[in-house]
Amino acid sequence: MAIDWEAEVGAPNVAVFGGTARYYPADGSPAFDLIGVADEGFREVVIVDSLSYTSDASPVIGVNSAQFALNNWTPQQNDKVKITDPLSKMFGQSFIVKEPRPDSHGIILLILNEYETPLP
């Protein structure tokens, strides 16, 4: 039996564990709100071979694709997102999408970098 993974697993997970974020499409289309699971855990970055590494974080947000379809948008590089969930440790931070990584089951993981200009 075929399973609609997004409807059965992805969307409920995002609904339970996600928080609000405001999404700014790269082409300047109107911004919209969505629910996504945002994380920025520790990450070690090695720039050049060296005695010491660089400690950094890896901000990401996971969103189910139906929320983008609803707004006629496919996530791409240069999109921006601001975390608007006050309970999130990332609240108020502005990011730019470096790489969208769809999992082919309806969840898109957006790899983020911190954006230089704070979003409204």
């Binding site: 790269a26 920025e40 990450r43 070690e44 970055v45 090695v46 720039i47 050049v48 060296s50 005695l51 010491s52 590494y53 660089t54 400690s55 950094d56 974080a57 890896s58 901000p59 590089q77 240069n78 990011f95 730019i96 470096k98 983020l112 970098n113 911190e114 954006y115 230089e116």
Partner: protein, 231 residues
């Protein structure tokens, strides 16, 4: 003069630790600070084995050196000593549209690299100004830059490997035990005899010609000079 690795590394550290406005800020303060500053503004570590955090940059890390002594031949202890060490400068920048920040990181690294070159190669202690420097030859400088956006922001680093050459010989390894010389006292007791019969006690341990004598020394000094060389 015996040159040690630690003298050189200390000089490199001092050269890179200068503060006071850099090329990155379009100011150069050579006269005021006796050297060339960099955007690291004194954040220089030797070495650094803790991770670098974003709050730490711009930063300079001097990595532990590598050394290679090469013999000059089979007739004694003489070496051409090659000392190389890596200086790593790191910067960071928040992201912009179309990955423009990566290019800005590279621009910042180019300026940083130029500052490191001026600070190290232009340093009079290392390579000489009015006085000769510690190092006879800077044989090569290999540089590379890299940027990464794996983390939250763009991080960039410039790595520069300086290779220096200097001479080391027997005198660097078998050093004479010396006492500080503060004063010379020169006595002259002439062979052209002044007193053929008298008996004198000389001012230091030597044996005068016994009386009666037809030639000196008679044990009585004809003149003396004191040369004070204390610092």
């Amino acid at each position: 003069m015996t040159v040690t690795e630690s003298d050189i590394l200390t000089a490199v550290f001092n050269a890179l630790a200068k503060q006071g406005g850099s090329i990155g800020q379009f100011r150069i303060g050579l006269d005021a600070i006796g050297g060339y500053p960099t955007i690291a503004e004194g954040r220089v570590y030797m070495p650094r084995d803790w991770p670098v955090q974003e709050v730490d940059v711009p930063i300079l890390k001097i990595q532990p050196p590598e050394e290679d002594k090469e013999s000059l031949g089979k007739n004694g202890i003489q070496f051409t000593t090659k000392l190389s060490f890596e200086v790593i400068g790191e910067v960071s920048r928040k992201a912009e549209e179309d990955d423009q920040a990566a290019g800005k990181v590279l621009t910042a690294l180019s300026l940083f690299k130029r500052e490191i070159e001026m600070a190290v190669i232009g340093d009079p202690v290392l390579f000489g100004g009015d006085d000769p420097g510690l190092i006879q030859e800077l044989t090569s400088v290999r540089s590379k830059m890299a940027t990464k956006s794996d983390g939250k922001v763009h991080r960039g680093a410039v790595s520069m490997i300086f290779e220096m050459t200097y001479y080391q010989g027997t005198e660097d390894f078998q050093q004479a035990v010396v006492t500080d010389v503060n004063r010379f006292h020169l006595y002259a007791d002439l062979i052209n005899v002044d007193d053929p019969t008298g008996t004198y006690v000389p001012p230091m341990d030597y044996t005068p010609t016994p009386a009666p004598r037809t030639m000196g020394p008679d044990g009585r000094v004809e003149g003396e000079v004191v040369v004070d060389v204390a610092h």
